[in-house]
């Protein structure tokens, strides 16, 4: 595994230093490169702070911007950021209207953000959090709150950013963000492992002709390991899983994201959408918006995920609001 890096110990710092110099017109660091704020953020509103372990770029670092998050806190590779840094970042963007933390539902993140909220509390910074748990392959429906957060982060951040920008109260922003979160499900598929940079070690083992449904971003085992199959067969199985989970029916409006996990090409992801589109159409779902991107990755991991957000008029309103960051831009959708 040839990685274009320097000293192992400085990988994350150099990555973020590069990111912040390339996009210095948008961002400025808070103390260290591991945390930064969006320069042109709207004032006098609820502040949105997102974060998590590094190595999944463009999440989370790429999602601060207009109509998105006000600040990002990045941890080490696959490790949640520390409470002090989260606290300092929240303090840097707090406008007295409250700070909402959005992050993936992982033990490490939960504990560090909880501790950060305690630190905020000591300084009378009003805080709340929404944990993203969209990966329906990671736990049963009953244990939804131990499911992992994956590509669904993007839709949740999008809605929260728009809700906050529209000047709503913290309580309202929380309600809309949670409602959006609860209408999102994702299922993934892995074809090959990523690796921890510098450690030069695959995050999991998978046979040359094998794939695994529902495997997690860090190689957490999924729901079934099978032989490689045609794109059509793979997508059919994943679509079925999502339908069983979400129970969508003809006429329901959805936003769809086909997300690459790292090294899987746009050519392949487009073919995935080609297959997905057949099922969506035959079930009579109405696609309000759809995207084919690699937003939530795990280094050079091979595979993809399908995320569906079920829309209602309220969610749609915030989904449609324009937003801009170097990695996530959308105009109004007519």
């Amino acid at each position: 595994m040839k990685k274009i890096i320097n000293k192992d110990s400085s990988i994350v710092d150099e990555m973020l230093s590069g990111y912040l110099s390339a996009y210095s017109r948008y961002y400025e660091p808070v103390n260290s490169n591991n945390s930064f704020t969006y320069k042109k953020r709207r004032k006098n509103k609820v502040s949105i702070v997102i974060g998590g372990g590094s190595g999944h770029e463009p999440l989370f670092s790429g999602f601060a911007g207009q109509g998105l998050a006000d600040a990002v806190v990045c941890g080490n590779i696959f490790a949640a950021p520390n409470p002090q840094l989260i606290f300092e970042t929240a303090r840097a963007v707090d406008e007295g209207k409250g700070v909402l933390f959005i992050y993936g539902n992982y033990a490490g993140d939960n504990m560090n953000f909880d501790m950060a909220e305690e630190l905020c509390d000591m300084e009378d910074i009003k805080t709340a959090h929404v944990r993203v748990w969209d990966d329906c392959a990671s736990a049963s429906k009953e244990r939804y709150d131990s499911r992992r957060g994956v590509a669904g982060d993007v839709f949740v951040i999008k809605a929260a950013g728009a809700a906050a920008d529209s000047g709503l109260s913290l309580e309202e922003v929380i309600r809309i963000t949670e409602k959006t979160r609860d209408n999102i499900n994702t299922i993934g598929l892995a074809t090959s492992p990523g690796s921890i940079p510098g450690l030069n070690k695959p995050t999991f083992e998978l046979g040359e002709d094998e794939i695994e449904f529902g495997m997690g971003l860090h190689g957490e085992p999924g729901i079934e390991r099978t032989k490689m199959q045609d794109a059509g067969k793979l997508v059919e199985r994943m679509y079925k899983e999502l339908m069983t989970e979400m129970g969508l029916s003809s006429g329901d409006e959805v936003a769809v994201l086909v997300n690459g996990l790292g090294s899987t090409t746009l050519l392949e992801l487009n073919i995935v959408y080609h297959e997905l589109d057949k099922h969506i159409k035959s079930d009579g779902l109405i696609v309000h918006d759809s995207e084919i991107k690699s937003y939530c990755t795990c280094q050079e991991m091979g595979g993809f995920s399908i995320t569906i957000l079920k829309l209602d008029d309220e969610i749609k309103k915030y989904y449609n609001a324009p937003c801009f960051s170097p990695y996530y831009a959308r105009g109004e959708i007519k």
């Binding site: 590779i77 949640a80 033990a107 490490g108 504990m111 921890i196 957490e220």
Partner: protein, 209 residues
Amino acid sequence: MNRIGTDKVVEMIISACDSIIASKDYLTEVDSSIGDGDHGIGMSGGMLKAKEELTAKTPFEDINTVFKTAGMAMINSMGGASGVIFGSLFLGGIKKMDRITELDGNKFTVMMRKALEAVKDRGKAEVGDKTMVDALEPAVLAMEALDDKSDLKTVLKTASDAAGKGVEDSKKYIAKFGKAQYLGERAVGFQDAGATSVSIIFKAMYEYL
């Protein structure tokens, strides 16, 4: 050794740091089999930071500050689950404790009981959930079970042995936290990474004395 002063406590903790740093690859190995393989990186990084700060700020005027410095250094450099958990291991014991400049077995036992509560409070894990609690709780219980807890060395030996056994027991469990929880039955047979770190820490402290 019956009791030790502030400077020796610093040295004792630093020797625990060195032992973890030396075990980086081993801990990574352990975390790889059922976790995401970064426990060695996280722990060694945190312990390196703790050692730096202890070395820089020594001499300390009391033992409380020593533990606080180590705990804070870990939490704020490691991140991840282990940052908070192992930070709490050092911070939990000194919460609301009067200044002390001497550490004996009794005090250490009380501190570790409070540390255990802090860790469980933070992580909501119980023995059998395949976390570092599987090593920490038996260690605390064993220390408390001693009739005479005055001798620090004896207390640490007891903790180290019990923690080591706890690591063995952790192999039997299904994980309920961290990234191993998704493995279900498949996690059985593998020891928990954090529990391994706990036993390494106690063992190193004991051997220092």
